[in-house]
Each structure stands twice: as C-alpha cells, then as structure tokens.
Symmetry: C2
C-alpha cells in the first residue's frame, strides 16, 4: 500500500510519506521496509533517510542499523505546543481534575477534520485510556470531537457531516441527522459525551475551551472505562469539567 499525497514538490511528499511510516507499533524500520511501504526505490530511500538523519529528523540505531524518528521532531513540536498558551494555562487545572477524577485527562484541538491531542495526564489506574500526545481522533464519535463540531462554523460542519461517518463501534452515530440532534444537546448542556462510540468500553466527556476572542479553540476531556464512567459518575464529573474548562478559558483571556 503506497501512501500518496500529490505535492508541488516531490521530495517534500516523499519525506512526509517516509516519516509517516513510523508508528508506535512500528517504531524501528529498515530501508527496505520503508522502500516497500512508500514505493520508492531502495537507493532513493536510503539517501533520503541518510539526509533526514543528518538533520536530526530520524535516528539510526547503531546496533540494528534501523531507523527511527528523531528528537529533532520533538524540538519543532515544542515550538508548536508552546505557541498555544494552553500548556501553561491548563496545567494546574488539569492536574487537579486528574486528581479528583482519577481518570485520564486530555486536551485536544481541531486540525482539519480531526482532533489532535496536545495535552494529556494519564489515569493512575491500570485500566485506562491513554491518549498520547499528537494522537489524532475522528470528530463524529469522540467527546472532544463533538465539542469541536458543535462550535465550528456551520459551513465546516456541513462539509464534514456530508461525508460518510465511519462506524468505529456498534454505538457510533453514523447518521448525520441523529448526530446533529446530539450536537444541539451539547450546545445546551455545555459538554459532550461519547459512550463507546469510538472504542468499545471507552466513555468520555468533554467541554469547550475558549480563547480571548471567544472562539472555541480546544476541548478538555475526561476518559475512562465504561464500568467506572456510569451515568452517575458522568453527572458528577460534568460540573468540575466545565469549571476547569472555564478556568482555563479565563487564563486565555476569555470573559464569559
């Protein structure tokens, strides 16, 4: 399966495809593996990788000779994360939220037609949802995604809802009309819930974070397994969640 993204500059697309080959489960890759996955000639792959190596975008294991993503990327990502003042603004509040709930806390922002995690504190419990930094999740079946859908521009929402909505579990809402009704409820309540709509056994609740212009720029969520996140617990969590989101918004200059 070759990943394609037609680009004005070929090399940029090739580099992107190479870098995207690396995942959590496939962290170390050899030249041939990448060559096969991208459809590039092995010599080309070898040369691109060695160039990426020089720039610190990938590392090369001395023992195995395999490549892995490099710390240069962390360096650049740090600049991105710092830009959103979210990190500093949120830290105190998500920490106390994590302590109170004992569940995993995430903050994610909208990137195109997906959510991307920019902040996360894991639950101390062994059974937990781990939303790692940089992870992308769909919009229509996650709590944070629903928040984003609720507060985005009508045109953008229309565009996304007019595409087929993938069924991740039996509970995923795949009908745009039903989803729109759910989003209306989000608007009323000020929070969104995803009840095993993205992953079996996973329940989450999310609330919007506003910036100084009054726009929703992120969503704060609590995620946990079904058996700990029953409807009573969700009720109990809703207010602290909304409070924390409001406090973070305040830090960003939002006047409610």
């Amino acid at each position: 399966m070759s990943k394609n993204s037609s680009t004005t500059i070929q090399t940029v697309g090739r580099i992107a495809n190479i870098l995207r080959c690396f995942t959590e489960s496939e962290a170390d890759l050899g030249v041939m593996q990448i060559s096969r996955e991208t459809g590039l000639h092995k010599s080309t792959t070898s040369r691109l990788l060695s160039a990426l190596h020089q720039e610190g975008f990938v590392e090369k294991s001395a023992e195995t000779g395999k490549y892995r993503l490099g710390l240069g990327l962390v360096n650049l990502a740090g600049v991105v994360l710092e830009r959103q003042n979210l990190h500093q603004a949120a830290q105190a509040y998500i920490k106390s939220l994590a302590e109170f709930t004992q569940e995993t806390i995430n903050i994610s922002i909208l990137d195109g037609e997906e959510c991307i995690n920019v902040e996360s504190i894991h639950s101390p419990k062994s059974i937990r949802y781990t939303g790692r930094l940089g992870r992308r999740t769909p919009l229509h079946c996650t709590s944070t995604g629903k928040v984003q859908l609720t507060y985005m521009s009508p045109e953008q929402r229309q565009k996304i809802l007019s595409q087929p909505l993938g069924a991740y579990t039996q509970h995923t809402i795949t009908d745009p009309i039903t989803l729109r009704i759910a989003l209306a409820a989000v608007c009323d309540q000020g929070y969104a819930i995803s009840n095993e709509e993205f992953e079996e056994g996973l329940v989450a609740i999310a609330a919007p974070i506003y910036d100084h212009t009054g726009e929703v720029i992120a969503a704060l969520s609590i995620s946990g397994p079904t058996y700990r996140m029953d409807s009573n617990t969700l009720q109990e969590f809703a207010l602290p969640l909304k409070d924390a989101a409001k406090m973070i918004s305040g830090q960003l200059g939002y006047i409610s």
Copy 2:
C-alpha cells in the same frame, strides 16, 4: 545569516532550515522573512512552504497569510516520545516531586552533544524556570547536562570536553580540568548541581535515570531561582530527587 548543513539531498536540508526558522519568539513568518533567513529564492521558499503546508508540517494563517509550524510535527513527535517509556513511567513521580518542591521539574535526554527536554512540570510560582518540551540545552553548564556527561562513555566525554566550552555566565565552568573534577563529585554524590552556570539567577539539581540495561538514559532535575534554591534547600531536595529518579528507573526495569 544563512544556516547551512551540507546534506546529501539538497531539499531535505532546505526543508530543515526552513522549519528551524520558526521559534517561540518568531512563531509566524512570511515567505520573504524565511527567504532572507535561509538565503533561498523567494519563489523556491514559497513553493517549499506550500508543499510543507500540504503535508501538515506548517500551517498558513488565513488572516495574515503568514506561516507557522503545523500540528503534523506534534503528531510525529508523539511517536518519538511514546517510544521512551519515560513519559508513563515518570508521571506520578515527577508530579509528587513538583508538589513537594514547588519548583520546575524537567526530564531531559542526551541528543548528540546537547540535552533535550522531554518532560516538564512548571513551578506554580510566578518566578520560575520554564523548560519547554523539546528545548535544547548545553551539557557542560546545566545540571542535567553534567549528569549526562558523568555517565556517558569516556570517548564521548573526551570528545566534548576537548572542544571549547562556551561561557554562558560568569559562573560557567569553561576549564575542562575543573569540569572533570566536578563530574567526579557528581559520580560520588549521585547528583549534579548547576549554580548559575547556564543562566544568571538559575540554580538546578539533577539525578540520573537508568533503564533496564543499567545505562543512564535521562536526567531528572529541579530548577528554580537562586534565592529559593540556596544550599540548604538543595540539600533538602537532593534525597527526594534521587529517590524519584530511582523509582522511575525502577519502572523502566532497572535493578539497583
């Protein structure tokens, strides 16, 4: 000033130079600004940026038309950070260390001849050291750097110490002999201190984190302003710091 890094593949070097133009203080850049800084023709710059945009490595502000680093980088960096199990292993311990000390906690790992921050909790105090994710710091004048220097291979240490040691402040140790003596002390005590050697008014103390093979893979540090981090306080912090580092090492499979 044009940044050069001779690479086997020109485009990779150019892309790297472009991406490195973006910093915290200069987060939004126009085509011409980047063109000037990299020495690339403006048309080339424009095309490279638009290609990078398509791949999500940069974003383009709709209002200003300026570019900024994109979330695609966060995505890739997440894979890197997840690889080190540090994040999960450390979280509980650095949180309690942060609470106990009320100062900024960082974890940094060695990357080439620098340290790079992979984890940080900011002090709640308004006067604080903020070691953002992905930030690079020198080895010879930081607490974490000294830890890394102490436990690296003699050849590597020799190589670094044979280069000129930059004076960041009046207190920076620039004499390799003096530094070697200081490192010997680190080995004895199990922790390193940087007393305004990197930045005026900044004091830090760091201890090594070991992985399951018994190698030092990271350093855990507490940083704060001089007036709060006097020698008594440092003494008081040393043991909890070493304990936390030991516990994290244990999580990574280290048997002491």
